[in-house]
């Protein structure tokens, strides 16, 4: 999967779980600062990403996933 393919699938999940418009979500978006996520929202997003991409994201990896790009990289690495 390319970055863009992952991003397209991810965008809807992020928008839905964080209650923002999908067109506000970019690869550069920071979850907390730009998309208004709190710690619960972040867990909610990652749970959905686990389902969608069939990966496991352990709690200790959460602090490193601060931007949408970081989430894309994380998924790409796990899926590969």
């Amino acid at each position: 999967m390319t970055d863009n393919e992952i991003f397209d699938q991810m965008k809807e999940i992020i928008a839905d779980k964080l209650g923002v418009d999908a067109d506000k979500v970019s690869k550069e978006s920071r979850f907390m600062e730009d998309l208004g996520a709190d710690s619960l929202g972040l867990v909610d997003v990652t749970m959905e990403l686990e389902d969608k991409f069939d990966v496991t994201i352990p709690d200790e990896d959460l602090p490193s996933i601060t931007t949408v790009q970081a989430a894309i990289d994380y998924v790409k690495e796990k899926v590969a």
Binding site: G19, V20, L40, M47
Partner: protein, 410 residues
Amino acid sequence: MKRIVITGIGVLSPIGTGKEEYWSSLKLGKSGVSQLEGFDTDELKVKIGAQVKNFNPKDYMDSREIPRIDPVTQYAIAGSVMAVEDAKIDWDDVDRDRVGTLISTGIGGLQTIEKNILQMKEKGARRVSPYFIPMMIGNMPSAQVSIRYSLRGPSSNVVTACATSNYAIGEAAEIIRRGDADMMLAGGAEASLIPIGIAGFANMRALSTRNDDPEHASRPFDKDRDGFVMGEGSAVLVLEDYDKAVQRGADIYCEISSVGYSTDAHHITAPDPEGWGAKQCMKVAMKKAGIELDQVDYINAHGTSTPLNDRVESNSIAELFGEHLPNIDINSTKSMVGHLLGAAGATEAAAVALQIKNDTVHPSTNFFEGEEGFKLRLVSETKKRKISCALSNSFGFGGHNCCLSFRRVD
């Protein structure tokens, strides 16, 4: 002693949204009970209920918040928005550190509980939503309303089953009276009219199974009653210190003159057959308000339509008021809206306030014939009456009894 008054009413009920629609339905004797919609009832013994119709949470909150707010809290927010609007509160003129919330629920976010337990069974513990706890805990209606309006006085939740929102309103009035707040948003919300809730109450044999005739299923005090009809919704009242209400030029519905508490200490669900607790909470409320038996014009009965409650309550009222009984108009709001559990007392308090304000008593519908020896005078059709003093009863599983007394403000 401080006087506490009602200055705003918000209602989300099975017979109407907003005080106008609610009041016009009450006067018409309209039933909110129908076949249950929105889920499969094949497995359920009870297929009827009093559902809120046409509720759109987007009318009251940001659409992005909705998935993270349980319906019970959505109902509480809707009721609060309507109550605040009705009370014409200008928040710039109110010290919000002195405003609190006591919008209670008897059960909490049952829909969220059901959904997450199923999710855990199906997909494992890792799939339980991080919002599960903050969505389902019973204090969240008060908390979310406090956040919405930045109200920073006291906020909590009183849980006493079907007496929940009478307790909440009584306690909110006491919070103002003792000086902990100047204004409270008080009432109840309930959203447990879903299969797990229905099955639970149905298996207690607490619910009417008159599935083929929903409009006549909630029939308080009628000899053919066979249980209560579950309802859902919310009612929120704005309570204020009388002096402060007058100062800001608020319209006043009536005064909440006292609250009387008692406990049966008898059984987890059945009322004490002697009705000691029922009589006691009415006596305490009257004593605290300085009302004599002959001063009560009207009683809003708990009147659930269960065989036991209605027998004990009618005997208790008859014994307590004796020769004065013929002067007292009595009705059960539940005959129309069903039993809103934790929101019941609040929808009834709203009905009492509207009746006092409009010099009108609403009917108690579906009463055809009482049991032998039945002495209460139920109001069969809407009638004019100036109500100076009123009582409203709520009795909850666990033996929690609570009577609110109301007084006309001229």
